[in-house]
Amino acid sequence: MIGALGEFFAMGGYAQYVWPAYLIAAAILAVLTGLSLRDLRHQEATLLALRRQRRGAAVDEAQG
């Protein structure tokens, strides 16, 4: 079993080319996904805060 796994990871002697190719792709796509989600959350939170602030200001004006 360990022999078969070791053979799999050895990639016929080309491990230093095959695995970095997959790792680079996985890392880039993971970072892109993370940044895209973070940016969306940040923009939506900013929008919500601005709208609340605006509503608050409108209420102040009406009461003042």
């Binding site: 990639m11 080319y17 190719a21 680079i24 969306l40 939506e44």
Partner: protein
């Protein structure tokens, strides 16, 4: 048709599709990895390095597919003056740049053991590098102006002019002598590749396409929220 050019209308359709795209992307990429890394045979000439193909080729397809999408979205935005096309193109650009970089990096890692070099300045590799610079140029230009509409117009024109590079990349391996092998799948006489290698390639491509649509919708929602933030702030300044 014009009704869907409104970003909010578009999101009403895109949002329910988003989780399906994300799941499809995850499942197809997992299946593609299993088929490509475990099930598919080693190549009789290239040995195990041929497994790099299952990430390299779908990324290269995506690099061209996303750019073509960007150019079409930019064209519709310029012609009909709808903001949705600009926003789709802007949301797509970083995704396309990432796929292009992956295809360059994995191609380099495949080239070293098979060609004996990380890089050659031949037509295919150079034209894909230019594609990468076009993506970077678009991303830099679209935010380079204080007035966002000016940046959008300038970047859209760049996207359209750069579209000439897409057929050049596709035909570069036929028009010029190169180390790069010619197309094995998108051929007039059908794929010249065994089904045990074709399936992981196609399933991986489906996964990457679904991932592109999912990420594009997420980024588009971010762009639309950013646009609303700008409008609210503009309203505050004017008030």
């Amino acid at each position: 048709m014009h009704k869907y050019a409104n970003p909010n209308q578009f999101l009403r359709i895109a949002n329910p599709i988003l989780p399906w795209c994300a799941w499809l992307a995850g499942l197809a990429i997992a299946a593609g990895l299993y088929l490509g890394l475990v099930q598919a045979p080693a190549d009789y000439q290239q040995g195990e390095t041929v497994r790099i193909m299952y990430v390299h080729v779908p990324s290269a397809w995506m690099a061209l597919f996303v750019y073509t999408n960007m150019a079409i979205a930019s064209a519709t935005a310029i012609i009909w003056r709808h903001p949705l096309g600009f926003l789709i193109a802007k949301a797509s650009a970083p995704i396309g740049a990432c796929f292009t970089f992956i295809s360059l990096a994995t191609g380099s890692l495949w080239g070293k053991p098979m060609w004996g070099t990380w890089w050659v300045w031949d037509a295919r590799l150079t034209s894909v590098l230019i594609l990468f610079f076009l993506y970077i140029g678009y991303i830099a230009l679209v935010d380079a102006f204080d007035d966002p509409t000016r940046g959008q117009r300038a970047a859209s024109i760049l996207a359209l002019v750069g579209a000439v590079n897409v057929p050049i990349i596709h035909y570069s391996v036929e028009w010029w002598n190169t180390l790069h092998q010619p197309a094995s799948v998108a051929r007039m006489d059908g794929p010249a590749i065994h089904s045990s290698m074709l399936w992981p390639l196609l399933i991986m491509a489906i996964g990457f396409t679904a991932l592109y649509f999912a990420l594009m919708v997420v980024r588009l929602r971010g762009e639309i929220a950013a646009m609303k933030v700008r409008n609210v702030r503009l309203g505050q300044v004017q008030a």
